[in-house]
Amino acid sequence: MQYKSQAVATPYFIAAIGLFAGQILFGIVLGLQYVLGDFLFPAIPFNIARMVHTNLLIVWLLFGFMGAAYYMIPEESETELFSPKLAIALFWIFLVAGALTIVGYLAVPYATLAQLTGNDLLATMGREFLEQPLPTKLGIVVVALAFLFNITMTVLKGRKTSISIVMLLGLWGLAVFFLFSFYNPANIVLDKFFWWWVVHLWVEGVWELILGAMLSFVLIKVTGVDREVIEKWLYVIVTMTLISGIIGTGHHFYWIGAPEYWQWWGSIFSALEPIPFFALTVFAFNMVNRRRREHPNKAAVLWALGTGVMSFLGAGVWGFLHTLAPVNYYTHGTQITAAHGHMAFYGAYVMVVLTMISYAMPILRGRAANSNKAQVLEMWSFWLMTVAMVFITLFLTAAGILQVWLQRVSESPLPFMVAQDQISLFYWLREGSGVVFLIGLLCYIASFFVRGEEKTA
């Protein structure tokens, strides 16, 4: 660790992994509810568990992004963090606010929570992924602004690299587009249109800048390839991302009341969206092949390569699978979407955060890399989680294809619930894969506690 203040990243990474574990536990509950409908009912109905599952995902990824920024930015800027104290204070504020929100979801009925937290003053709750109570949303804005202030000041007083610029742009974009979560008109068509300005422009826009910057940072460190080369690639990839992804938002506007031309604009530009992900894969492998050093942290290299491949498969291939309007007409809102969502989030964002943690945590703990034993266990966790996710995706895709067939294409379409009963076998298989994923995650956590001969920094 080159700069003392990078140490503030440690609690962020630990919190991220803790919340990740929570997310997966609730994922297992959800998967079980798909096949045993009354599991935990009425104590934790499906919608509550799902809210916890998705909100925890968002929150822990944000913890990961912030931790990554606190780790990367001082090193990139070649200066100490503007205010480490602020970073620590924000950590506790964000963690407590996040925990209270989850407790709120689980402890009181959602309608009561809405009433208690001032949803009648400004109704923002109850929309997918934006279920957080008003104080939490405001808290996110405050924490994000203070965090951005801290990071931006650090960059301004130090060296300004392309990686910092792309990272900052991504983080600022994240904060700015979140503001659309406060816009909730009574007109559902308008509501849905601008809801995507948060959700799509996050995950298929500015988050990809953060992803690119994080991956580039780790690749520079573990391969020793010239910064110039990596930063050029970074620019090419993020350019491709945004020129396809911004208009690509249109693939969400097909069936929610927007004009029909979005079916063309959305299809054409989202057909190009796999290209940047493909470039990312080529980039990761190319850099690792051209490496000028053998970094002792093999696990981090594996995660970096995994990010390239899995984000291309999950976001690129599985996204393209159902993005063209004529296909999407039949697959919209089915398990196909769920399949894509799972692999895309895992392949792109979960894996890049784990890449960063894998690279940075040993250094934060005072060594260049973990012991061989610990790394072997971590690689096991990589394969367990990744293979499990591939199977989750395949089973959900199979379930989705069957669902589309039975419920939408067939001559005598079956009602939703009848079709669901027909495909429960795939839900069982998915649940099994989910358990394997959980085992992989437990291995991952265990790898932090494995001792053995350590490689000195």
């Binding site: 396809s244 031309y261 063309w264 299809s267 530009f269 190009l272």
Partner: protein
Amino acid sequence: MSTASPASPASGPVNAPQPAFPTEDSGASRRRLPGDLAVWFFILAELLAFAVFFLSYAFARARDVALFNASQLTLDLNAGAINTLLLVTSSWFVVRAIQAVKRDDKAGGVRWLAAAMLGGFGFLVVKVFEYAAKFDAGITLSTNTFYMFYISLTFFHFMHVILGLVILGVLLANTWRGAYGRDAYHVLESGGAYWHMVDLLWIILFPLVYVMR
């Protein structure tokens, strides 16, 4: 006959600020990609986006030829043709500007670039009149599939012309400042390549949307 002689003043590799992009067939360093490699990647991306757009139009037309032919008749063929002439000529002006700068003829570079921008502005003016007539007639993106494509394609291209003009403006200012010359025309070539791409796209767009039936 059409190979540039190494002795010709500007086209030889001697003056190129950047070494050639090496390929197996590069036969010494004769073969050279003008401009910055980054710009060529961008051009490829743009060409790809337009290709998907053009083909979407072509195959959508094949499914409803009567509608497309009927709607196409309402377009202003003359405006389209004039715009082709303007863009082609403007592109040629840019070539002349680069040739001038390669001779260290700064004033010539400025003049030709200004003329090229004038051509681009002319294109925009013609197009604005054309749009005004269409919008007055109550035509929007949602009128029918043909007009959806007509407005989408031409407007997408229209914005590229605007971007190209911004780029030409920057190049003009830099040429004026004397930033380019015999040994530094790399950026100028990059911007020029982009402007030629805008031209190339219109060369396909014009017959496709305005004339072919």
